[in-house]
Amino acid sequence: MSAGAAVSVRGVRRTFGSGRNAVHALSDVSFDVAPGELVALVGRSGSGKTTMLNLVGGLDRPDAGAITVGDVEVTALDEAGLVRLRRDTVAFVFQTFGLIPVLTAAENVGVPLRLRGLPVPDRERRVQLLLQLVGLADHAAQRPTELSGGQQQRVAIARALAVSPRLLVADEPTGQLDVETGLAVMALIRAVVEAEGMTAIVSTHDPVMIALADRAVRLVDGRLVDA
């Protein structure tokens, strides 16, 4: 691991299936992400971007290699450790927004805070602040089905920021948005990363989005070709 890296990926390999049906999603991938850096993970569909993000976020385990987030070696964590990692250190933004449909925007944002057991007044204050941050203070009581795609993704970003994670992992956050909205969302991510001083890895294949990142890491057929 490079000294001072927020995220360090070393020799990671991930294969799905076995034998003749084996799919090598990632092969010997290594890269680092500096603290406060916004890295775009670039590649075509099926190149291994999502697999890489899932491994970094502790949603999946590599077959080989090591991943470190801050001073925590993710690949060495047990199930409880991974839960703690996802709860306290890493936050996700999904391509499909990942909101709980039966909850309002405010309740969705409050989910991570509930997982931490934050007192109700503190939670409500934090939720209000985050919704104001993403410009949805007036939509707090609306459910996801009552919000547009961009609004949903902004709620997802607010939720991701709720517990002030050190690492934001966003998987194609603009994939289901039109260009204009996608740019706005990407700009929001850029802004909050700078404002909160967090590190972010964002997967995308949109060149416009890539331009907003500090740098790009390119995956081709599961191999890192440009870091």
Binding site: T50, L59, R87, G98, V111
Partner: protein, 1059 residues
């Protein structure tokens, strides 16, 4: 698809089994009921009185043969035993000592000996004896002064005016007998076994008889006036076809007899109870069928609901396939055709499986001992057209649910869902309206109307449960809202998340409907069975007043109580139960029931515990105040009764007194003992009293309760016929060896009931005597009246009864507008008594009529004796305190003490009889099916609802929620729904039980039961069932939730679209 198929099979199997209960079991029950019917109760009796010109021996024999042939042909479906009794034309006896004409008749019966007890000599034979041998009743023998070995001279009475009497002849008395008391065979005797009547045989002459001759010596040899043919069917080999054949043939018997006899018969009386008995059996089967149909409809509703849930699971699983088909241009019609074809195949497969499964389930049910004992025969399980039609229809109907769900699932969620909500609201309202209408109809008519099954009445319970479940579902979200409010205030996630899901997810309570309905049905079924069984026991208690009820047999009344006590080991109690008139309320009510009087010992502590007491009170409280007097009178010594009579008249007119003693045993049995005439000449005359016609020795502890002195003028008395000459008659009766009784030693004179008022101002006193107890009776006697009519001086032990306190039934009170404190005029026999109402009760034990009157036996007896009525009051016996009523009943039968009936046997017949077995079977089946279908359907719902949340589970895991916490949230949500649904279902079941079960539990004829239904809550069974449903339904979610959490992976996060 396997789950859907299994549900269709299960539903069709349950309904197929119900069809077997309605058809095969119905036939079995009919056969078992007919086989179990007392053959005597369906005897065909054809009693023919021949026209005067058809009594000749040959003609009568021909008529008899034709009647026998016609009746046997009508009952040819069954083997029969035939009994023929024929009586001769009138015969004249030698004139009485006073010169009066007397008549008699011969009786030729092939089974007379089976209906009588020989008391002396032997039965006549048709041997080579020169004279005809006869046997006659003891009573007739005593009155005629003949005994075995005596001869009786007979002359054929002229049949027509001016006709000379037939040749005289002599018959030889070879035996005497006592007809069995209560034996219906003696109704064929012109004198009804009395042995004597002042007017009979169509002539105003005293008649004595019958003179029983040897079988076969009358018919064909001598003129016959009347004969009766009794056919008793052997029902042990009854089959459905034989039963129907006999019913059809017997229906035309009356007409056939009339046609064959023509003018030869002056009267034909036909007792043909078989069709009516069958009608009653069918009415009971109709009641049973109604209850079975209720169970079948409920099972069908549950199966349909469970299948709906499973179909939704299938539709969800096929959503992608369906979308693809639509995208590739499949038309709605094509999709509907595809769904229909699939449903048809499913129906065929399910039907093919359900038919053998129904038969197997039937065999399993039939092996349950209680049902097997009732006559349910496993061997009778065979495919029938009804079974095939029912199973096929059920499978098709249930498969149709699949089509409906499949088609409905295509609609878009927005507008279609809102439209569905509105439509559902409409359906809800219609369902509730139908339930209300059904309930009102049920309340008006109860579940069964005899043999016919009313679909509205049968559907009412199902509608009530379904409407209740629908309404309950409307309430569940409100409960969830409360949880939601609590969730907002919580700092945790698991419980709030469950509450949110419950309150806000559209299908979260879809499975609740099934659970609510199934739990309500289970509660309903279990409570119905318990209530129904309790009601049958209550009805048995109401029909039979004690553990054992005995209708008197051949034993002399004075010994019956003792004999019953010795034979049964219990405590006998004499009971009066007979029809009476109340003032102007004479005859039967609209239901054919006359007012019934019930009287027994109601003194406190004498155990009038006769089944369930009226609500809110006890029998002791309800009957308090009815026993206003205690037994009184001196106690007589055991053995022969001797007494000394000393009497005189104030003016010395010779008068003869003939004493009759009314004695009562400790059990309430009474008898009248007659003494011989004694001249009242001032001298003491000792008498030995005969103890009844059978000369039974007097038992100890007999009490003299009344003394009746018949008065007549003695030799040489010549009172003035023109002026009413009176004289005070005083008679002192010393009962030798008697002791004073424990009660009052007061006596009073009865009011004179004879129109001449011969004895007036009767009074009496009791005093000790060195030889026993003396009773001195006196009255002012009209000597002139004695010229024309014998007089009676009746004195009664104890104090007089001014009025008889009574408790009346609510039905009678309503009819009369009477209430406690009101008065009644009771006509008991020929006596009129004043009654005072002290209470009103819903029913009286052993009285099925709406009009019933209960009185204390001693009080009633005292009042009747005070009115000069000495008729015995013992109509039947109740025996209580029995360890083994069945053994006691057997002992009563073996001892010839009468016809026993045990309360347990009646209850068992009502509860477990063949006509009822399908009720139990169907209800047990319903409870089992409800539990099975509920769990099955819930499993389908759980799989569908949790499976649909796979993406959400993955998101929660991605947010940092542990797998355990996600699993717990799923379980809490599902468990909350299940527990709420089960609790609501139990509550709904309770409400429907309260409203509906009392209307479903009816008597064997479908009428409201007596006493009213008392809802019985089988708490342990309900607790077990509800707990099993709650835990079972919650437990079903555990593996599904666990699997959902285990399978959730990052892959789900890439799934497109919102769940």
């Amino acid at each position: 698809m396997a789950m859907v198929t299994a549900l269709v099979v299960a539903g069709a199997t349950v309904l197929g089994l119900c069809s077997l209960l309605l058809t095969t079991v119905r036939d079995q029950a009919l056969v078992a009921a007919v086989r179990g019917t007392d053959p005597a109760s369906v005897q065909v009796v054809a009693a023919v009185t021949l026209a005067d010109d058809a009594t000749a021996a040959d003609a009568a024999a021909r008529a008899l043969a034709e009647v026998s042939d016609t009746t046997q042909t009508a009952l040819a479906a069954f083997p029969t035993t035939t009994s023929v009794w024929a009586t001769s034309t009138r015969l004249l006896l030698d004139p009485a000592p006073d010169g009066g004409l007397r008549q008699t008749y011969l009786l030729d019966g092939d089974d007379v000996a089976a209906h009588a007890t020989l008391t002396a000599g032997r039965w006549p034979t048709s041997g080579a004896a020169a004279v005809t041998e006869v046997a006659l009743p003891d009573s007739a023998a005593r009155l005629l002064g003949v005994a075995s070995g005596s001869t009786i001279s007979l002359t054929g009475a002229p049949q027509h005016a001016g006709e000379p009497p037939a040749d005289p002849r002599t018959v030889l008395v070879v035996g005497t007998f006592t007809p069995r008391r209560g034996d219906q065979a003696w109704t064929r005797d012109p004198l009804d076994a009395a042995g004597y009547a002042t007017y009979a045989l169509g002539a105003a002459l005293p008649a004595y008889g019958p003179l029983v001759v040897a079988p076969g010596t009358l018919v064909g040899h001598q003129p016959v006036a009347r004969f009766s043919v009794v056919l008793t069917p052997v029902l042990s080999g009854a089959t459905t076809s034989r039963i129907a054949t006999a019913e059809r043939d017997l229906g035309g018997l009356r007409r056939a007899l009339d046609e064959r006899l023509g003018e030869r018969a002056s009267g034909v009386a036909l007792a043909n109870p078989y069709p009516e008995t069958l009608q009653q059996v069918r009415a009971q089967l109709g009641v049973t069928a109604s209850v079975v149909l209720v169970a079948a409809l409920l099972a069908g509703a549950l199966a349909g609901t469970a299948l709906g849930l499973a179909a939704r699971l299938l539709a969800d699983r096929r959503a992608a396939e369906h979308t693809l088909l639509v995208a590739r241009g499949a038309a709605s019609r094509q999709l509907a055709a595809h769904a229909a074809a699939e449903a048809l195949v499913l129906a065929l497969v399910a039907a093919a499986l359900s038919i053998p499964l129904s038969l197997a389930a039937f065999r399993a049910l039939a092996r349950i001992p209680r049902l097997a004992r009732a006559g349910m025969d496993a061997a009778a399980a065979a495919p029938t057209a009804v079974l095939v039609a029912t199973v096929g229809g059920a499978a098709l109907g249930l498969s149709g649910v699949l089509v409906v769900v499949s088609l409905r699932s295509r609609g878009t969620r927005g507008r279609a869902w809102r439209h569905g909500l509105v439509a559902r609201s409409g359906v809800d309202l219609v369902l509730v309206a139908l339930a209300v209408l059904g309930y009102l109809q049920l309340r008006a008519h109860r579940v069964a109307l005899g043999a016919a099954v009313d679909p509205v009445l049968v559907a009412a319970p199902v509608l009530c449960l379904a409407a209740g479940a629908v309404l309950a579902l409307r309430v569940l979200p409100w409960v969830a809202r409360l949880a939601e409010v609590h969730a907002a205030r919580s700092s945790r996630l698991v419980l709030p998340l469950a509450a949110w899901e419950l309150a806000r997810r559209r299908h979260s309570t879809a499975g609740a409907f099934l659970l609510v309905l199934a739990t309500a049905t289970t509660t309903f079924g279990l409570t119905f069975v318990a209530t129904w069984e309790r009601s049958q026991a209550d009805q048995a208690d109401a029909q039979v007043g004690a553990q054992l009820q005995v209708d008197p047999g051949a034993v002399a009344p004075i010994a019956e109580g003792r004999a019953l006590g010795a034979a049964t080991g219990g405590s006998p109690m004499a009971v009066t139960q007979r029809s009476i008139s109340l003032g102007s309320l004479i005859g039967a009510d609209t239901s054919g029931h006359a007012t019934q009087l019930l009287a027994t010992d109601l003194r406190a502590g004498h155990g009038f515990e006769v089944g369930r007491p009226p609500a809110g009170t006890t029998w002791a409280a309800a009957t308090a105040g009815l026993a206003t007097v205690d037994p009184a009178g001196p106690l007589l010594p055991a053995g022969p009764l001797r007494l000394v009579l000393t009497g005189d008249t104030a003016d010395g007119t010779p008068v003869v007194a003939t004493p009759s003693l009314v004695v009562e045993d400790p059990w309430g049995g009474q008898a009248v003992l007659d003494g011989g005439p004694v001249p009242l000449d001032g001298a003491p005359h000792e008498l030995r009293i005969a103890t009844g016609p059978d000369a039974v020795p007097l038992p100890d502890r007999l009490r003299l309760v009344a003394l009746d002195l018949g008065l007549a003028l003695g030799d040489g008395a010549a009172p003035s016929p023109d002026a009413n000459q009176t004289s005070v008659v005083t008679v002192r009766t010393v009962l030798l060896g008697a002791t004073a009784g424990s009660g009052s030693s007061d006596w009073f004179g009865s009011t004179s009931t004879d129109p001449w008022q011969i004895a007036r101002g009767a009074q009496a006193t009791e005093a000790g005597d060195p030889a026993g107890v003396g009773v001195t009776a006196s009255a002012t006697v009209s000597l002139t009246g004695l010229l024309y009519e014998s007089g009676r001086l009746v004195v009664v032990a104890g104090s007089p009864v001014a009025d008889v306190p009574v408790v009346v039934t609510a039905g009678l009170a309503d009819e009369l507008g009477a209430q406690p404190g009101g008065r009644l005029s009771l006509t008991v026999g020929q006596s009129q008594l004043d009654g005072r109402i002290t209470g009103v009760v819903p029913y009286l034990p052993s009285i099925v009529a709406p009009r019933g009157v209960l009185a204390d036996r001693t009080t009633l007896d005292r009042a009747l004796l005070g009115a000069g009525d000495l008729s015995p009051l013992t109509d039947r016996w109740w025996v209580s305190g029995l360890a083994d009523p069945r053994a006691a009943a057997a002992a009563v039968t073996a001892g010839g003490l009468g016809a026993p009936q045990t309360r347990d046997a009646v209850a068992a017949q009502l509860r477990d009889g063949p006509l009822r077995m399908a009720i139990l079977a169907a209800t047990w089946l319903l409870v089992a099916a409800a539990a099975l279908l509920a769990l099955w359907g819930t499993a389908a719902h759980v799989v569908a609802s949790i499976g649909a949340r796979a993406v959400e589970v993955a998101r929660l895991l991605g947010l940092g929620m542990s797998r355990a916490a996600v699993g717990a949230a799923l379980l809490v949500q599902h468990g909350g729904v299940c527990l709420l649904a089960v609790g609501t279902g139990a509550l709904l079941g309770g409400v429907v039980v309260r409203l509906v079960v009392p209307l479903l539990v009816v008597s064997s004829t479908g009428a409201p039961p007596v006493p009213d239904v008392l809802v019985v809550w089988p708490w342990p069974a309900l607790a077990v069932a509800v707990t099993l449903l709650a835990l079972g339904s919650v437990a079903l979610a555990a593996p599904v939730a666990s699997a959902a959490v285990r399978r959730a992976s990052a892959t789900h996060l890439r799934m497109e679209g919102q769940p």
